[in-house]
Symmetry: C2
Subunit: 422 residues, 2 copies
């Protein structure tokens, strides 16, 4: 019995007759032995199993078009004093090599816990650069024009502790232990050059259809989150990846802009709202997730539909009425890749607990991450509308905001951003 | 495609040809339509899939002998001022009814997010009583003699914020979202009677053998954790459940004693230790988990074995040399059900972050939970030995300690502890 425990989960699935499903993943999505991590949105019919390996090298970094994994830890770093472009290059060479190994189930050279790396469980590591990196590298000419703190929106209560930093690593995977291990390995590997400044950890539970198709996961308000997302290669090229036209420097091509917003949910207040209020505020039903103007989750919302009472079927200030494309400007589309968080509140002393009445049970919300070629034509105008009018604002508060350039993917042996910094 | 998303994960597994594996679970373990939640330890060959429903009613509460789920949130409660035995009974009636429904995939009567409850994902809810509950009920004669704060052990740095409370709910499941939802429903349902005082959230990744057999998960030191555990019904009766002989009142029979210790891991220091140091300190190999005196994980450690150098093969102060049965006193056995935790450290301001060097990346460790008939003959003598000599003490610190009586299981319609408090 003992030796069986060393069989990987892939072996387990194969043993249960899922080998064909696993093989299908290899053929159609971003998996081992597929050097081109083709964009496979999480709502696509890939039949993806949770346990494939995701290819590291390719035209785009993994962890963006990769179908959603269950866990996400995103860590922002500050470069240490005195680290210049040569140091940045060394850091990125170390990190890229480590991430390339970890995601393929190979321990890094100095890994003291290789057992925690042997089964990557769809681990991806995605690296991003903040403006500070370009400044410290003396290369602001290569930074995208949009790479700067986002404007403050109405209602924002931003905390600097979740703000812009020099670098970011988004680590996603099916296994929480593997994600924790990868994070520690990467932090240790880069310790001479950068130190972690914040980390945000989230989770999702991905529903599966009868054919294994991943469905849209729910957030902690109970709504499906991420229904409207690009699916085809063409849509990804259009809505996610930086094309030649959007690049302010050619070396940005193939990358993407990552915006990460920390959004607190007021759960007690939400729990006092009835279902019609909730569905009206969202503009969608809770069970199916269809727009109130339609019947199925992926039906296009019809914001002009009017009910028998003469009122709009989708309230003008419903979340989806404001979050969608306005004025026919399709540049407002983007890839949403949000994760739930639900942290226990742990006051520093028992006295603090006894004083507080009622005790806050948890710190709950959403780590909203989106990807697009340029936030000035997508996230910013959309968020401006939402901040001004979204009915959901009664229950949500944005407390964190950061923006990063995710450089293009790597060829074998290349390091992240080599085209930009090399 | 849309309607497929409403198919449960069980449907998904069945669609992939796993129906027979799922059915096997129903026949052999604590699953739906099996009114007797037979003790099925997590190392048993049940072929359990992660998505079965765990029966609620039975001679023992679920969540103890239940094969490990991936997520665990354990919440301790303080009874509100003035809540007497009648109020306690009402609280337990509400909670038992809600837990019975939630674990079977039925929303509670006032659930506003039933979609988060529809697929329980092996959800279990286990309820425990602290001494405070018996005091406030005016029934200390029914409290076990051992139901009191554990003695402080050498090296303990206990914080009251993780200490003894009136009540506890251990909520375990495969899906983090479902666990979060169940927690909120239960807290809300009991809000008039009790308020949450602490919560501890942990995770595990359960390896599976080629035949689906669950293996022993690893903690964040990289070691398999929980190798030595009861497996058969006889062992559970002996090592876990309170028998008539161990009960100080007949109504305790069928229950168990839950000890929950919060143990901080010093990860940076651990990462500076080499593998021989680690394996010597544990007394087991890391890869396989075999005792240094044996070859397989489940081989009985031979603490008398001597190497060619004349030294003991298992160091006298290795963790397993002290954690096992001593002096032939088999009462020192217990069920270990530990979960990893890895919380981001989030200082209250950016300034605090910038001041701290190096920044603590995470608050990492183990939520060690064990079950036994009487801690005075099991956890306490074992922990006394470990506290005095365990080599692992260099890297671990106990900061939380609480003990609860888990009452026996319920018959249909009964509430938790009805035999004790009725």
């Amino acid at each position: 019995m003992d030796t069986n425990f060393r069989v990987t989960r892939r072996g387990f699935l194969a043993g249960l007759g899922l080998a064909s499903a696993t093989a299908a993943v290899g053929a159609t999505s971003a998996c081992a032995d597929d050097s081109d991590p083709a964009p496979v949105p999480n709502t696509d019919s890939t039949g993806a199993t949770p346990d494939a390996t995701v290819a590291f090298d390719g035209p785009h970094q993994a962890g963006v078009a990769t179908p959603l994994q269950r866990h996400n830890t995103t860590v922002a770093f500050t470069l240490r004093d005195g680290v210049d472009v040569a140091g940045i290059r060394r850091l990125l060479r170390i990190w890229t090599g480590d991430a390339r190994r970890l995601t393929q189930g190979e321990p890094v050279l100095a890994d003291l816990e290789p057992e925690l790396a042997s089964d990557p469980g769809r681990l991806t590591v995605t690296c991003g650069f903040g403006r500070g990196l370009f400044e410290k590298a003396g290369m602001t000419d290569k930074a995208p024009d949009w790479l700067a703190p986002l404007p403050e929106f109405t209602g924002d209560r931003l905390e600097a502790r979740w703000g812009d930093r020099d670098l970011v690593l988004q680590i996603c995977g099916e296994d929480r232990t593997t994600v924790s291990h990868a994070l520690r390995v990467l932090v240790r590997g880069g310790a001479d050059y950068a130190r972690p400044s914040w980390s945000q950890t989230g989770f999702l539970d991905i529903p599966r259809g009868a054919d294994g198709t991943p469905g849209t996961p729910r957030n902690l308000f109970g709504f499906k989150d991420g229904t409207v997302n690009p699916r085809s290669d063409v849509e990804f090229d259009d809505q996610v990846w930086i094309g030649e036209d959007a690049a302010s420097h050619p070396s940005q091509t193939g990358g993407t802009c990552m915006v990460i917003r920390r959004i607190v949910f007021d759960m007690p207040l939400w729990e006092s709202a009835d279902r019609p209020t909730r569905e009206t505020s969202m503009g969608r039903t809770i069970v199916e997730g269809n727009p109130l103007s339609g019947e199925k989750e992926h039906d296009e919302p019809d914001t002009s539909a009017v009910g028998v009472d003469g009122l709009p079927v989708i309230d003008r200030n419903a979340h989806i009425a404001l979050a969608g494309v306005h004025d026919g400007d399709t540049r407002q589309r983007m890839l949403r890749r949000a994760y739930n968080y639900d942290l226990p509140v742990t006051p520093s002393s028992a006295d603090a607990l006894l004083d507080a009445e009622p005790v806050a049970l948890s710190d709950t919300g959403l780590i909203f991450t989106c990807f697009q070629p340029d936030p000035r034509t997508s996230f910013i105008p959309v968020q401006r509308r939402l901040a001004a009018g979204d009915r959901l604002n009664e229950w949500i508060t944005h407390v964190g905001s950061a923006v990063f350039l995710i450089p293009a993917g790597t060829a074998e042996g290349e390091y992240w951003g080599e085209a930009l910094l090399g």
